[in-house]
Point group: C2
């Protein structure tokens, strides 16, 4: 759902997108392609390796527990030297709702991905809200904040400018620092799921409000 | 610091406050009493047990790692039947900055306090921001949010009305549910400390922004 929402937005803006999955003939990818209304010629589907080879800029929209396996299928060499926007969270639903985190406190999924693929420029962002709001922050009433973590300053600047601000329309971006700061945004998820339950909607995000 | 900030605010509003600590002749309590400018006759200091016996409404402003010990000193019988506003966070600085959490994911300090003192009505709140903002939310530019967790609905209603709204001036209060939802606000702290480092100030809080 995160992957198709982001891919649809990028295709609507005229970007070429390859949707990767475990098999080249994935039913959900086919349904996504069939449902595109604008710029459908810009979109295609293939394996994780196909997507990784094609993309200049890569998005990890897999579930957190499967991210390392999916990126291994994408191929270490295929993702080397490229920016990987990591949106996944290490949510563990095995013990029911609300989910716990399978990684937290002394590590984060973002750090584990960066450590496993040291030649890839991992930028953790967009993992703190629902996918509809990732690509359409103007749906909410007033300013709200998106966070960013990563070791490569140039990669973060590229993601902030081209994806967050220009493509998706984010205005309030906070760069938390290196990839270890992904512990902060991933550990926000337990508050997110409880706020979601209390409000009865996923249509919310947090704004970091500063002093007058 | 949290304790004296809250106590000073409550005294300034005309409430009677006993500041509890390990010894009745605590230097910091004495300095706090000496520094009060308004309603100083409403303030006194004593042991944790003195404070627990006197107070109708109790605040746990101890450091998270010491909270259970401090509450045992306060006395199970002395805090039975009373509301305890738990502001502490299980921050562990033993491995340096930023702190990790000593309890998280499958439990929370709020739950451990409630389990240790089942006759006390624990309300977890105010643990997601600096103490100056706890008692003066109007310092920030625009609306922002305070969360609340607890098993006793009446206790939460009392805390929300008398302390959060009337005494401190909070307007946006979200009741997350039972005390297990304290996992959410306590696990927000790793994001708080990294946002604090990125902004270079503790003068911020989050606002839960809803849909238009």
């Amino acid at each position: 759902m995160v992957g198709t929402t982001i891919a649809t937005k990028l295709v609507s803006l005229g970007h070429e997108v390859v949707m990767g999955s475990r098999s080249a003939s994935n039913d959900k990818s086919a349904a996504w392609l069939a449902g595109l209304s604008a710029n459908a010629d810009k979109a295609s589907a293939g394996t994780f390796a196909d997507a990784a080879t094609f993309g200049e800029l890569l998005f990890n929209c897999t579930s957190g527990g499967a991210s390392l396996a999916a990126l291994n299928l994408a191929g270490t060499d295929n993702i080397a030297g490229k920016i990987l926007i990591d949106i996944a969270n290490p949510l563990d639903f095995s013990q029911g709702m609300p989910p716990r985190l399978s990684i937290s406190n002394d590590s984060s999924l973002g750090e584990q991905i960066q450590a496993a693929f040291p030649k890839t420029k991992v930028v953790k962002t967009l993992n703190t809200l629902s996918c509809e709001l990732m690509v359409e922050p103007s749906k909410l009433a007033g300013a709200h904040t998106i966070f960013m973590s990563g070791d490569d300053a140039e990669a973060k600047a590229t993601v902030e400018r081209t994806i967050l601000r220009e493509a998706f329309g984010w205005a309030d971006v906070i760069d938390l620092g290196d990839i270890s700061t992904a512990r902060g945004t991933e550990m926000f998820l337990p508050l997110w799921v409880r706020t979601w339950a209390a409000l009865g909607t996923a249509d919310f995000n947090i704004h970091v409000v500063r002093a007058k």
